[in-house]
Symmetry: C2
Subunit: 271 residues, 2 copies
């Protein structure tokens, strides 16, 4: 059984009136932990704070939250810690928050997944599930994730490790559980996320590391044609890090140069 | 405290691993109950079954669910019963369902809201929050409701009783908690819901009642210009029934003829 703290208490249950369950009214973070410590915690907290502000969700217990993350990560060689912050139990019916809700924080520890995709060919296809366009929610790691659930439900039947998703308007946005970067003759490119998608912490680490290494990354709208034009692709999330794509939508990728450079850069920054 | 049954047991708690909380992976229904009985239950169950099939969520306990709804409604002159069905507690990490989850059903009874908007002028404006376009989720009453939460959060500060929402592509779709109908010289019109929106049970009741009364309703894409062109508007949900709009986006509405006819028709069908 996974270890869980709900508002600091060791329990596995939450109120069924919680607005996180009723409406998906909350945010989450998935944090990679190594050698007993959470990685990139300031970046996770920065995104969380930004999301809370955009949802006008008045959560302030960051000290308690940090202590709980640290305690669950302690003495674990490698694990994932997931944080959920919701607006809390509803104090009245209906979508509108009453304003007097007490936010709920849920911190859970999960085993590091046994499969290490880095050692096998990583196959990526294109999902038929599209991402709804909503600039007010774009970038947030909120709890409304049915699009990703549907995409992965279909992906699981194909033998692919990940699927890329288009927006409703046809722009390439991200993987179902990752961000994505492509290489062409001018350098690296990754989709901008003004209309939809999640602004991943590993995406940010990669953007920072690329800048430090003098690698240009264009953050721009990306068309579907990139799938046939790119000579390299990699996906990013805190679990997989910088994951080279070996096979993309029907063809083997000829290069993984940028991914190798970025992994070295990120490892060097750590030590 | 509200009365709740979770999988048939009187408890207020659910597992924090429930995919309804983790991802909004589930559906809900809000059922109007009068004189001890749920109204339009076959229509609620029909929509729920359709949503379960579209999410490939293998819930089969309809007999137990019906018995629980009936038991919570019994001996209440008037109440709301809310049903949530989720995919259940996660049996592994990640968006993809493992396939062996046991769905969770949550049935809760709520007091009938004290405010009766029908007796006051019902004021409706336009929300700045738009609805993301996703045909795969359109029509479903699923648990991903942040767009409605944001819309009502803003609406609560305006003194409006409801706000209408556009799709990301600029079509008028619905209210934040209701469907909407407009009258023009050719009869009634209500937005089609192929791209987004919730196919409300009361919307369906109105469509059936209109057909029975010989009133033509066009179910078509609706442009924003309807707000200035319509001579009557009403919103529908099972709590408010057919609610005439007295004030729409800056102007008083001159008529409520269709709403009156439809209310009479629906009441007659009941007796």
């Amino acid at each position: 059984m996974i270890a869980v703290l709900v508002d600091g208490k060791p329990t596995h249950s939450v109120a069924c009136t919680d607005r996180g369950l009723q409406y998906g009214d909350g945010l989450f973070e998935t944090i990679s932990c190594r050698e007993g410590r959470p990685r990139w915690l300031p970046l996770h907290f920065e995104r969380l704070r930004s999301g809370l502000a955009r949802l006008r969700l008045p959560f302030g217990a960051f000290d308690a939250l940090q202590a709980e993350i640290v305690s669950l990560a302690a003495q674990q060689p490698r694990c994932l810690v997931k944080v959920i912050v919701t607006r809390g139990a509803a104090t009245r019916r209906g979508y509108a928050p009453a304003g007097d809700e007490q936010p709920t924080r849920i911190v859970s520890r999960h085993e590091w997944p046994a499969t290490n995709a880095c050692t096998a060919e990583f196959r990526v296809g294109l999902s038929e599930v599209r991402l709804g366009v909503n600039p007010m929610l774009a970038g947030l790691k909120h709890l409304n994730r049915l699009e990703q659930v549907l995409a992965q439900q279909a992906c699981a039947e194909t033998g692919l490790q990940e699927v890329l998703m288009l927006s409703a308007t046809g722009q390439l946005i991200s993987g179902s559980m990752s961000n994505v970067f492509f290489a062409d003759d001018k350098g690296l490119v990754t989709p901008e996320l003004r209309e939809c998608g999640v602004a991943g912490v590993m995406r940010r680490v990669v953007l920072q590391s690329a800048a430090a290494a003098g690698i240009v990354v264009r953050v721009v709208p990306v068309e579907l044609s990139v799938l046939s034009d790119a000579r390299e692709a990699f996906i990013t999330n805190v679990r997989l890090g910088v994951q080279s794509v070996g096979w993309l939508d029907g063809r083997a990728m000829p290069s993984d140069d940028y991914a190798q450079r970025l992994r070295r850069q990120i490892d060097a920054a750590r030590s």
